[in-house]
């Protein structure tokens, strides 16, 4: 805030100091500092995947936790996610070259009649922040759009979002159609949005209701590891 500001030169920090500093800068949504930090670590010979997990994902975990606990709110999280995204933009081509593992794939979209994409965007960013590949199909999606995306993108997870009481029942329409087509169990279905709750998620046949973006990430990770385990066991 006052005297200490701008006194710090990232390049002069050791790796042990720089990484926690990047966590702080992510927390504060400082995009340029994150870009600088990522580039510094690359110059120092870090693997892109290590920068992603240790500097960026670990930092976003703190942001996610404070968001879940009601310490941070949407504006701060959006700024943090934007900073994260800037760092990711540098790493993405390098990660692709090195064939780094992805945690899983997710198709996400807001249901028909709903323009709200704040929650959805947050989930997308936090999921990407956690190493997932996210295909965002935007707002106002009829059931056909969801099915098409499942077909072409072959994700592990389908995420649906609704912020209005007038649109949330549409999630059931999508899930019911998946059941009819016999493809429901091929995907993990996560739902979220302000008017929803856990009981609602269960009643419409989703795998889980996620209260916020941080919970979505935790739930997705848990379900993916369960999926892997059952594949190994099966």
């Amino acid at each position: 805030m006052s005297d200490a500001e701008d006194d710090l030169i990232l390049a002069e920090l050791s790796d042990e100091e720089l990484v926690p500093q990047m966590h702080d800068d992510l927390y504060d949504g400082l995009k340029e500092e994150i870009e600088e930090g990522v580039n510094l670590l690359l110059e120092r010979g870090w693997q892109p995947y290590d920068i992603l997990t240790e500097a960026l994902v670990a930092g976003m975990t703190v942001v996610g936790r404070d968001f879940r606990d009601g310490i941070l709110f949407v504006p701060e999280v959006l700024l943090a996610a934007n900073a994260m995204k800037a760092g990711m933009a540098i790493l993405k081509p390098l990660l692709a070259e090195t064939g780094a593992p992805t945690v899983g794939r997710m198709v996400i979209g807001t249901v028909k009649g709903d323009i709200h994409d704040i929650g959805k965007n947050l989930v997308s960013m936090m999921m990407e922040g956690a190493g997932f590949e996210v295909i965002d199909i935007g707002i106002n999606n009829p059931v056909e759009k969801y099915l098409e995306a499942l077909e072409t993108e072959k994700p592990d997870i389908l995420g649906m979002s609704a912020l209005l009481t007038t649109t949330m029942p549409y999630m059931k329409t999508v899930i019911d159609t998946m059941v009819q087509q016999g493809i429901r169990d091929d995907y993990i279905v996560l739902v979220g949005g302000a008017p929803l709750n856990e009981e609602f998620g269960q009643a419409i046949g989703a795998d889980a209701y996620c209260r916020d973006a941080a919970v979505a990430v935790e739930t997705a990770k848990t379900m993916m590891s369960r999926k892997h385990n059952s594949l190994v066991a099966g």
Partner: protein
Amino acid sequence: MANALSALLSTRDWLMADGATGTNLFNMGLSSGDAPEFWNVDEPGKIRALYRGAVEAGSDIFLTNSFGANASRLALHDASGRAHELSRIAAELGREVADTAGRPVIVAGSVGPTGEIMEPVGPLSHARAVEMFHETAEGLKEGGADVLWLETISAPEEFRAAAEAFALAGMPWCGTMSFDTAGRTMMGLTSDGLARLVDDLPNPPLAFGANCGVGASDLLRTVLGFAATGPDRPVIAKGNAGVPKFVEGHIHYDGTPELMAEYAVLARDAGARIIGGCCGTTPEHLRTMRKALEDTPPGPRPRLEEIVARIGPFSSDRDGSGEEAGPARKTRRRRG
């Protein structure tokens, strides 16, 4: 007292607003995902019935079916050019119902959020937000709304933009926000934060408060937060009738008419002068609320424990009111 709402407020201790729009339109056959505002033109009889349902249940104020009638929201339905028209007709139908009610009933022109995030965090500019709100406001004004009624807002910036638009339209207004995230709005604003915001506006609303959110308990806590600031203007409480559940393929809110009657009385005791419901609140709920408000003498301001005992638990331990302004932030470069 140039406007009908102030006139009515000056003669009464409390006023009852209406209940849900979406829930009641679903009960009349609206499909999920469709724009409710199209029914102003395509099913005017059902919209009149929606309004009449509230009036006949004892509401002194009802909101028009124009919540999503702004250019941004209507763009979803390829109807971004119809914001003015759909708003105007929503208010015209309301005027018809109010003018034949046989008692003073206020037509409140509902103005909902644009659904976009405003600058600097998001893409929507202040100027564009004002322009969209202004278009809706002019439509509602032309249709004969007594006041404009901004609702379910999360961002202070959007609240300010709407206020500016209402000044351009020269209309009196009321404004409520939705406190759905740990007792704050999605954007982190507390109840006392809204009270301060309202005081700072060049054209403050006639009344302000909370609508929607999580459940009736949380909403009452928010009203207590407003009351603690000693507001200069009436406080509005429009809470949901419980939380949504899926019952036999339809959304059902679990708040009973009896619970909402308790809520209405507690809201008044907590300091609200305009009391209504939001999602899940049907005319049946409104009837019991009206009766309870008439039959129950005013009581002392309820304590939080009393709200929990009578209505149910809160969704979070605290709501941020009375704490340091804004979320706790670490300072930049603290390791420096």
